[in-house]
Chain length 894, copies 2
């Protein structure tokens, strides 16, 4: 066996590497090899493998055995093809040295260009190009880039020198400097290198190359790259490949230039070459945006041959990769060189359209098309967004809590939101955090901004359910409710001023931005049909109102997996009755309040059942702690002080009497609020614990459900109610409630025409642990993965922000368990519950209704774990449908 | 096969039943049968089995087939022995009809005496006894008892009639009524029966008997009995036996009487007959306490033969049962009849002494002796108690949160407690609830009373740790801190008034009661040695101070299983530094605060290590959320208002300046307190989450531990520190902290002379679920079963009071999972963690340090689950030692 092969040559239509060797050659290296094999013009060069990088670290920053020889051989082969020689004074060959990891890490690692220039070879470049200015510009770029990257001379040293020269020359731009100025700069920069490092700039091209390669190896472990990998959950042990490639120059005059292009439009998916071209420029100039590039279409007029060649390459690449490509190219003296190809990023709409077009073009099959679209991207197809043509800078950034964009006037209370909205104003509701009492205001608002809270805060969950954009947990934004001000850094925004939110990115902009409705790809329905034909999991929606239910159905929901009944109690006509129920001193009083709520609750269900005709509707009985329905303590203390003050000003005894009566009422209310105060309400008196303490509340809800079911069934609607008991941890809790619910069903339904089920949430760890007992009683399980995650980790999602931030910073926790199901812990409990539950009842219906139901990774987990369905907010239903189909396809393929 | 046997006869020295048939015959029936077999005089009779009772319910309140015939045969056999006949006018036989379940349910079910009396047989009784008054007294008792129990005539009807007659006769007591009056009462009562029920009182003795038996059957399901079984966790499906027994009378004159006795002293265990005798009285009169009984010893003087016979019976019973018996007897005309025998209840001291004496007497072996003492009773041996001779009535009752009794003056703040205690006053600290800041005051107080909180509230846990009596969660007690008043119902107690607490029973008495130090049975040490020789589990103590550590060692602890370091930060000299740490704006500032804490913390550990020389000391790094170390929000708002007011009154500009500075400080503090506010602190920023956010805090603690260890080791102390990381849910959390701790150990310890371990609490469900990963890093596990129970059930122990009360009331939850480990749920997680942990590290050391470590049932669970040790508060160490021994013995026997 010879020495390990570390260097993979490409050029002249041949390549030692292949496109499928991304792990070994990195994405860039694999692309260069593959393009070369396809006969596409690529400057020759070689890729030093990731194995060489790993070996470099293994050997404590020394090159692997044989690497030096293989590099020399690579240089030799490039020289042979380029009719030039590395270090040659007359026909100098220059190299670029670029990083290239398995996955794209844009700008995170280092690059050195123009390797091979020194005081002698630069003269050869001058002679060969006839362009002294170009040659010394390239040379001074080498010195700064090499100085910065390899020699660690702080970049501002060079900046300072160039600025000093420009001010002496009284010019503003680098381009106004003369050839001599650039030559002088090279001398000055080299002096700087000596001053800072104590050594001269290396004139030896091979030393330059060797150290540049080392610098790229080292950059795998620079701070930026480590941070980026942490954020993207990429492993640290991949290493990077290094691409050493003959330099080509787009800045040799008007017949040269650089461009970037997509083989199809990445925004719309339109099947045309799409991109930009900048004449007489290097690649960096196109990206930097300092000059306005021309569109690639206009290239057709100015350089038709070039355009034609690009089109041919486009055909070749798409024919080969069977996917839309993102390419970089340079034209040197009229000759086209491709420098990079990779799969192109695209919008959701473009992703769907490209996938479908490629099926029609025969490039890919339906299943590949389904895998080509990231389910999360579908969300973009459903929400308005900020006009992508507008360039803007965010004034603040929070969590992208609910996607889409919104523009409107700032208001600080739910009341205000409702009033302004009634007058036809568009408003953004800004709150420190939201509570169930704000629901009406959230509904009236275009978007919601909260200073606190995370991705699963009340605001985020409700906003996603409503399909409203929401930005949550913004660190440097403070709401002062008293003064009616929003502070963003130093800037103050008053009520009524217009701001824009981008819930997809978490950005906040303190002015009005234009919005556009996203194009829904025409064939979207067809695409989703393909997905539906393949998935095993059913997809339901979490919907609390008839409006939500209708929207969910339109988006493909096959029933409601979670209808929260508590939201029904916050309406202005209901809250007083609900409060009467809570404040009741006797069961009889409580029943009177409940009787007044019964007909309203019944009407809610009637409309929802109608909207879901033919589909099951899972209704969760009252879940939140009672204090959520009462005013806040501070509010009451304030009110009491007001009335006390009014008493001191009262004009008559009768007025005092009246006020004193009022005062007592407020005080009673305050006492009750205080008595309901809990230290840890998440683990307090809520869910079925309420239903067991005050059985008459659940009785009323069960009655309302069955009466509504009977009423709509009488009119021909197919109604399938599923009554869900929350927060069960022991089978006896379920039994207690289940018996009463069945008794009421028996009394109300009279005959068996309506099939209903009684089941339970599995959201307390103990419920999962004892699912065999619970499964013997429940007719279905629905995982409440929000609470299950909270209790399994012992994290309160409202309070986890500060320490989860520290965890991320210190690399202790790589992914947020509130986003995707924690498979090791929470998932283990879920699997246990499924297997124990079905051991008790083989055909037990099992679903999930936490926020995870709309997360593709979690949907895939549910598919494998064997749930029957997932349920998510209406706007996430298409995501779940696609994710469920992908899970099936991937399972089949693996 | 003949008909099922339902009736078991006993009498004349023979019995069909046996003493080991408690399930079939009930405790009383089995005892009567066994005594009869032993030749002890027992009035003849028969027991109707519990099967007959169950069958009665099965057949919808009808007698089982053959029962009627068997009862008639039973009556016949009694008649034959008694020389009397049921319903006979001349020699009438009377029966008592008594309930008797498998376990004693004192007073819960019904009894009817004197069955067989009617207008004709009463004349026979008059003739036979020559005592007309006695006969009619028995008759009128039958009518009221039967009327009440069988016919459901409310008792107050009879009361009203008797009172009306007494007032007409102008007498006060029943005994002052004449024979004629009693005869007249019978007539009046019978008229009442007709008026209320519409039917005459049954004259037929057999009808009386049949219906009395039915009434006893029915009483198994009366409200009282159901409630009692719920409280005692007894099943509902046992049913009761019915004992039908010939009546004997202790009220036939001075040669008759009734008594109760214990075969040994139930308070001290002293080996002498102990009891009371009341001449010319029925059994009820002894129990009612209306007349003063004589001691059984004085019987020796007055009725030596009787005394001798009792002593013989005592010997027979103890020889047979090999346990101390509690007996009832009646003397009729000088003839002794035993009516009941059962194992006698006894104090902890008596239990130990009797068990040891019986070993010495050769009656039982050591293992039986160990099983004879309820481990919980040992607690009585360690705490002062209210003088058992004093009769008192509780003014309020709460939860028996920490055993023992205390008497002292009421104070409402920890400060006040400390000041008063310094002056030598005994005080009771009364708080709505306690927080870590109250520790000093709790220490200074004799006992603690809190209005809120449960058995595992802060007050309860800390009090048990300190061995102080505590009563918690008292419903009708309200503390008004502002007015300085304690309201107990309508009564107000001011600061300085003396009250008494009984933490063993939860009773509160609003006056001074005398206390006694419990007798520690002399042989206690020997008894515990026996236990220690047999147990497999090690027993450690939870101890935070050197004082606790010394006490724990004295009580037999083999190390410290939980040393909470946070309590060390609440001292007056430390709190300011801790606050500086929390308020620090930079890491450097934080480090400065920590440096000041380091030497103090080191001293704490030095003293504890010395006290535990040779034993392991498990030290838990900081656990509670930081806000616990800061003042309360309300306190700060109040303070700020004060300073603001002072500013308006300030006399000079410089004074204003000073006050304004102060104001800013308070406001900063308030802002920090508000920013640390959490919605669910239990699931918030605490435990290792603090150690990861602020690693310098744990660094300081680790340094203090290792420096202390080195210091004491240098002086020859054998120190075995075990550093325990709290609230770990993911192995990466543990790794992060563990690495830093080891790095500090390496720096401080220099050589390997000190063996230390780094391990983790298992208290988050996810830790148990991923114990294989965690076990690969941790060197030991310690189950924090308090938090594990909270998170597994989703119960906040601080908030669970209201709904757990409802659960108990509605029979949804039979036992409190904070008292004994919930084996189905929490226990399942523990077993999983043990097996997964040991799969990663076979010799992983595993313990438990939650409150459950001192609960006998939970100790037995730990024994079976395979932990290496349990750790509990010092005063519970003997309990755990005995419970661990019992677990071994029971395992061996089964």
């Amino acid at each position: 066996m010879g020495p390990t092969k570390y260097v993979y040559f490409f050029g002249g239509g041949e390549a030692e590497g292949r496109g499928d060797q991304k792990e070994l050659l990195g994405g860039k290296g694999a692309g260069l090899a593959e393009m070369t094999r396809l006969g596409i013009p690529v400057p020759p060069g070689f890729t030093i493998s990731t194995e060489a990088c790993l070996e470099y670290y293994e050997r404590d920053h020394a090159w692997a055995e044989g690497l030096a020889e293989q590099v020399i051989e690579g240089v030799r082969r490039v020289e042979a093809l380029m009719d030039a020689s590395f270090g040659d004074e007359e026909r100098p060959l220059l190299f670029s040295v670029r990083s290239g990891a398995r996955a794209s890490m844009p700008g995170m690692m280092d690059t050195v260009l123009n390797i091979g220039l020194n005081d002698r070879t630069v003269q050869g470049l001058v002679a060969r190009t006839g362009n002294r200015r170009f040659a010394f510009d390239a040379y001074r770029r080498l010195v700064t880039m090499y100085g910065d990257v390899v020699l660690e001379v702080p970049h501002d040293h060079f900046e300072a020198e160039i600025n000093s020269l420009k001010s002496r020359r009284k010019v503003r731009s680098d381009t106004e400097l003369s050839d001599e100025d650039l030559e002088r700069l090279v001398r000055i920069f080299k002096r700087t290198v000596v001053q800072v490092t104590g050594r001269p700039f290396p004139e030896d091209p091979h030393e330059q190359l060797r150290k540049a390669v080392n610098a790229v190896f080292e950059s795998w472990h620079n701070k930026r790259a480590i941070e980026y990998r942490r954020l993207q959950s990429l492993p640290d042990n991949w290493g990077t490949a290094v691409n050493v490639q003959a330099m080509v120059f787009g800045n040799l005059g008007e017949t040269s230039g650089s461009g970037v292009a997509f083989t199809r439009n990445p925004a719309t998916g339109d099947n045309h070459l799409y991109g930009e071209y900048l004449p007489n420029a290097q690649g960096e100039d196109v990206v930097a945006g300092t000059r306005d590039p021309m569109s690639i279409d206009s290239l057709n007029d100015r350089h038709p041959a070039l355009y034609k060649q690009l089109q041919e390459i486009r055909g070749k690449l798409e024919g080969h990769y069977r996917d839309m490509q993102d390419v970089e190219f340079t034209v040197q003296d009229g000759k086209l060189f491709m420098l990079q190809t990779r799969s192109g990023k695209r919008t959701g709409a473009a992703a769907v359209r490209i996938a479908m077009d490629m099926v029609r073009e025969g490039k890919i099959d339906v299943e590949t098309a389904l895998l080509r679209v990231d389910p999360k991207q579908l969300e973009q197809l459903l929400h308005p967004m900020i006009d992508p043509k507008v360039v803007y800078q965010a004034d603040a950034k929070g969590l992208p809590a609910s996607p889409g964009a919104a523009v409107g006037k700032v208001v600080f209370t739910a009341e205000d939101a409702k009033e302004m909205a009634e007058k036809g104003e568009k408003v953004i509701l800004v709150r420190p955090e939201t509570s169930p009492e704000d629901i009406g205001g959230m509904h009236a608002a275009e978007g919601i901004l909260t200073c606190r809270g995370g991705m699963t805060s009340h605001a985020a969950v409700v906003a996603r359910g409503m399909g409203k954009p929401c930005v949550a947990g913004v660190a440097n934004v403070v709401v002062n409710l008293e003064s009616g001000e929003l502070s963003v850094g130093d800037r103050k925004i008053l009520r009524g001023q217009v701001i824009s939110l981008n819930g997809t990115t978490g950005e906040i902009v303190l002015r009005e931005l234009p919005l556009v409705d996203p194009e829904q790809a025409g064939a979207f329905g067809q695409f989703m049909d393909w997905a539906d034909e393949r998935r095993r999991l059913r997809v339901r929606a979490n919907a609390d109102t008839p409006e939500d239910a209708r929207r969910a159905r339109k988006l493909g929901a096959e029933g409601i997996g979670l209808c929260r009944t508590e939201h029904m109690f916050f309406g202005a006509d209901r809250l007083p009755h609900m409060r009467a129920v809570i404040l009741a001193r006797t069961e009889a009083e409580r029943r009177r309040g409940l009787e007044r709520l019964l007909p309203m609750q019944r009407e809610d269900f009637i409309d929802i059942f109608r909207a879901m005709d033919g589909f099951p509707v899972t209704i969760r009985l009252l879940d939140p702690p009672l204090h959520e329905f009462l005013p806040k303590q501070e509010e009451l203390i304030h009110k009491i002080a007001e009335v006390q003050f009014a008493i001191t000003k009262a004009a008559s005894l009768s007025e005092i009497d009246k006020l004193a009566g009022e005062l007592n009422c407020w005080r009673d209310l305050l006492a009750r609020v205080e008595s309901l105060h809990e230290l840890n309400p998440m683990l307090g008196h809520r869910g079925c614990r309420l239903g067991i303490s005050f059985p008459e509340i659940y009785d009323m809800q069960a009655r309302a459900i069955f009466e509504a079911a009977r009423k709509v069934a009488d009119r021909g609607v197919v109604v399938i109610p599923e009554i869900m008991i929350p927060l069960v941890g022991d089978v006896r809790e379920l039994e207690f409630v289940e018996k009463r619910v069945r008794a009421i069903a028996e009394a109300v339904l009279v005959d068996d025409a309506i099939a209903f089920k009684v089941g339970t949430m599995i959201e307390v760890p103990r419920a999962a642990l004892t699912a065999d007992e619970i499964g013997a009683v429940a007719e279905f399980f629905s995982f409440g993965t929000n609470d299950l995650t909270q209790m399994t980790f012992g994290f309160s999602r409202d309070d986890a922000g500060p320490f989860l931030a520290a965890y991320e910073q210190r690399g202790v926790m790589k992914s947020d368990p509130f986003q995707s199901i924690d498979e090791r812990g929470v998932g283990q409990l879920m699997k246990m519950a499924i297997s124990k539950g079905r051991s008790a009842k083989p055909n037990l219906k099992i679903g999930i209704c936490g926020e995870h139901g709309g997360d593709p990774q979690s949907v895939a987990f549910c598919h494998h774990a064997g749930t029957d369905y997932v349920s998510c907010s209406p706007f996430r239903v298409p995501i779940a449908r696609l994710a469920a189909a992908q899970a099936v396809i991937r399972e089949r393929k693996s």
